[in-house]
Amino acid sequence: MSSAREEIFARLHKASTPLTADTEKPQPLVPAVAQTTGAACLVQFKEKATALACTVAELDRIQDVPQEVTRYLNERALPADIWCSTEPAITSLPWAAQTTLTLHADIARNKLDGGTSVTGCLAAVAETGALAVASGADFATRLGYLPDTHIVVCRQDQLVGGFEDVWAHIRQYTTSSAVPPRAINFIGGPSRTGDIEATLVMGAHGPRAVHVILVPATG
């Protein structure tokens, strides 16, 4: 008895043509909205992120991030407990100066549920206003999903035009035969649903609020 794979492939081969070096492939097409750079990229990102119901703050110095986190939590009367990713850009910030903030290291699902996370990101995408994050040793995917509030710190040099810029990042792995991160997530604002009477309701499964803190480029 032939295997399922063999049988399926036999039928597919009958109805298809082999791919050769000469086979013409559709050329990529990237819309202009995904190709902004520089100042226009920043303006567009802020506009699109806001349209996705993110809040955006711009700081002059990355050292002011802890202060901004405190301000944001106070303004919304949220508990001063935060769960940070272990990315060096986040752990190296002057958290100790914020005496009211408590940093938690335990990201067990019951702990993180309903809390506030503070993370970095891989990229901020001007095309859509979404933040791209990649899983890894210093970033657990759940940080972007289990908390009620997700605060994302983004350096201006992490602003990119569109999806293709993130594909380039993934290709850095694949071209060297390395395995790309387990998860690449584009987070476009707070979670939402329109499943009851097509009415938009925020906070379906993931965070109810996403706050972006833009900081200057390094170096």
């Binding site: 295997s3 399922a4 492939f9 039928r11 597919l12 081969h13 109805a15 298809s16 043509t17 086979t23 559709p26 050329q27 990529p28 097409l29 990237v30 819309p31 202009a32 995904a34 996705l52 272990t86 699902r109 095309e127 859509t128 979404a130 899983s135 040793a137 210093d138 995917t141 759940r142 972007g144 999903y145 289990l146 999806f163 293709e164 594909w167 993934i170 290709r171 694949t174 395995v179 790309p180 991160p181 387990r182 998860a183 690449i184 997530n185 584009f186 987070i187 476009g188 707070p190 979670s191 939402r192 649903t193 499943d195 009851i196 009477e197 097509a198 906070g203 379906a204 499964h205 993931g206």
Partner: protein, 493 residues
């Protein structure tokens, strides 16, 4: 796939009497097309992207075994496993076995039309597993034991009141004793219940919107974020999807990601767009210990070798449902298949048979709106016509329809008889119509097989003779006026 499409007439008659459904369909049919049009208008490259998307999907299908093979190799290199299923039953057995291997008891799922097609939940439950859908709409219809009403909005036919009743009954065991009708509160209630399920689940099952051959990754698109929790929290992640979902490269994925949300819900982007590569990696803070992809054929390889091949381009956006006047009148439940609307009218006979699902390709006015909005330009009316032809060839269409077509064919070939028939018909219809009122002349009741037409509406009485008579008169008038028989007005375009 179990279908009840043979009851389309009865179910659509019921649906037409349902006033709350009419309200839901009105909103759906107005709001989504309008939002789609708005965001499409804001993207200058929208039409060019549709051409490209069509080409990408065609290219992938033309070389499907090569791209599936490349995808499989990458998945394995990334630490995942690939399983092939010829039929729905085989896919269900594979998924059940994977769950058993993990000693799983609790399974959570994010929305997947393929698993609806396979009736995977029933199978897993029969194996003793508890399965919870986490997309809000899917969760609601799971509690109500219904089929999806719409491929994107499975519960859009229900009012908040109906959802409230369903939750009130289902959530008492979770200590929810208050009956709420406010939509935000209903969403919150589901969030609280489902969050606990997420935390305790052993296995997470998702579909895949796309498979990327270049990298071996799967792409998932949601607004709720439930697919990401499903793919991240449990010990195992199982992906169940159709073999046709593969695209060659990330760049191709980019093209489709720009069309899918715009076509589906009129959004520039879905709130969560994710790529999953494999199981948890060394040092990762979280993620499942295993990553299995079940690739389902279930009739697709036969479709590839058939006149409805183009249907395999479908990216499940639902735009054709939203724009269809038939779907907009009767809704998804009447179709008796998890795939409804124009796309369902082509898929369903392909996955079952034209004898079981022949009603569906007939449930179309051929207005062409579905093809007009399809992001991958599937010629849906042409493909529905193919099934109608099959139905006729196999002598499955109703006797009256066959008889009527026979008469028409004969008349069309015999012009003299045709003209006589038209003349007699006009006389007959004029006899049936009463004297003109302020609202014009209307026939209230037609005899014999034509009576169906006047059951729920009047027919406008004929005026001014047949087309041929009017054409001849116009020609004659033109000759008298200009000296030569010019093209008449109306016929000049």
């Amino acid at each position: 796939m179990q279908i009840t499409s043979d009851q389309f007439h009865e179910k659509s008659a019921e649906a037409l009497q349902d006033e709350s459904l009419a309200g839901a369909l009105f909103v759906l049919g107005k709001m989504f097309p309008l939002m789609r049009e708005t965001v499409a208008g804001q993207l200058p490259e929208f039409e060019a992207l549709r051409d490209r998307a069509r080409d990408i999907r065609n290219h992938a299908l033309d070389h499907l075994p090569d791209y599936l093979d490349a995808f499989e190799k990458k998945v394995i290199a990334n630490g995942g496993r690939v399983h092939w299923a010829r039929t729905g039953a085989e896919a269900n057995r594979i998924v059940a076995k994977l769950c058993k291997e993990a000693d799983a008891r609790q399974v959570i799922k994010s929305k997947s039309m393929v698993t609806e097609e396979l009736e995977l939940n029933d199978h897993l439950e029969a194996e003793g597993l508890t399965v919870t859908e986490t997309d809000l709409g899917e969760y609601i219809i799971q509690l109500r034991k219904e089929k999806p009403f719409h491929i994107v909005g499975p519960a859009l036919h229900l009012s908040a009141g109906q959802v409230s009743d369903t939750f009130y009954e289902a959530h008492q065991e979770h200590g929810r004793s208050e009956k709420v009708e406010d939509k935000a509160k209903l969403v919150e209630e589901a969030r609280i219940v489902l969050r606990e399920r997420f935390k305790n689940a052993d296995v997470g099952i998702t579909g895949a919107n796309f498979l990327v051959a270049e990298t071996g990754q799967i792409a998932l698109v949601t607004n709720e974020g439930n697919a990401d929790l499903t793919a991240t929290l449990p010990k195992r992640h199982i992906v169940v999807t159709g073999i046709e979902k593969v695209v060659p490269t990330l760049d191709d994925l980019g093209v489709l990601l720009r069309l899918l949300p715009r076509s589906a819900t009129g959004q520039e982007t879905s709130n969560y767009v994710s790529l999953y590569t494999g199981p948890r990696q060394d040092g990762d803070g979280d993620g499942p210990g295993s990553f299995d992809i079940v690739l389902v054929d279930n009739g697709r390889s036969n479709m590839l070798d058939s006149p409805v091949k183009e249907m395999l381009r479908c990216i499940r956006c639902g735009a054709c449902l939203n724009s269809c006047p038939i779907y907009g009148a009767v809704g998804g439940q009447a179709y008796g298949s998890v795939y409804s609307g124009p796309m369902g009218s082509v898929w369903t006979p392909a996955l079952t048979s034209v004898s079981q699902a022949g009603n569906l390709p007939n449930a179309s006015t051929f207005c062409g709106k579905c093809e007009e909005v399809c992001p991958v330009r599937i010629p849906l009316p042409k493909l529905m016509r193919h099934w109608r032809e099959k139905e006729f060839e196999q002598h499955l269409s109703p006797t009256t329809a066959r008889w009527g077509l026979g008469v028409w064919t004969w008349l069309a070939r015999h012009p003299r008889s045709y003209r006589l028939f038209v003349r007699l018909g006009l006389i007959g219809m004029n006899v049936m119509a009463p004297a003109p009122s302020q609202k014009g002349r209307w026939i209230a009741k037609l005899p014999f097989i034509a009576s169906g037409w006047t059951e729920s509406r009047n027919l406008s009485a004929p005026s001014g003779g047949s087309f041929l008579t009017q054409y001849k008169q116009a020609q004659k008038a033109a000759l008298e006026k200009t000296g030569h028989p010019s093209k008449t007005e109306g016929a000049s375009k």
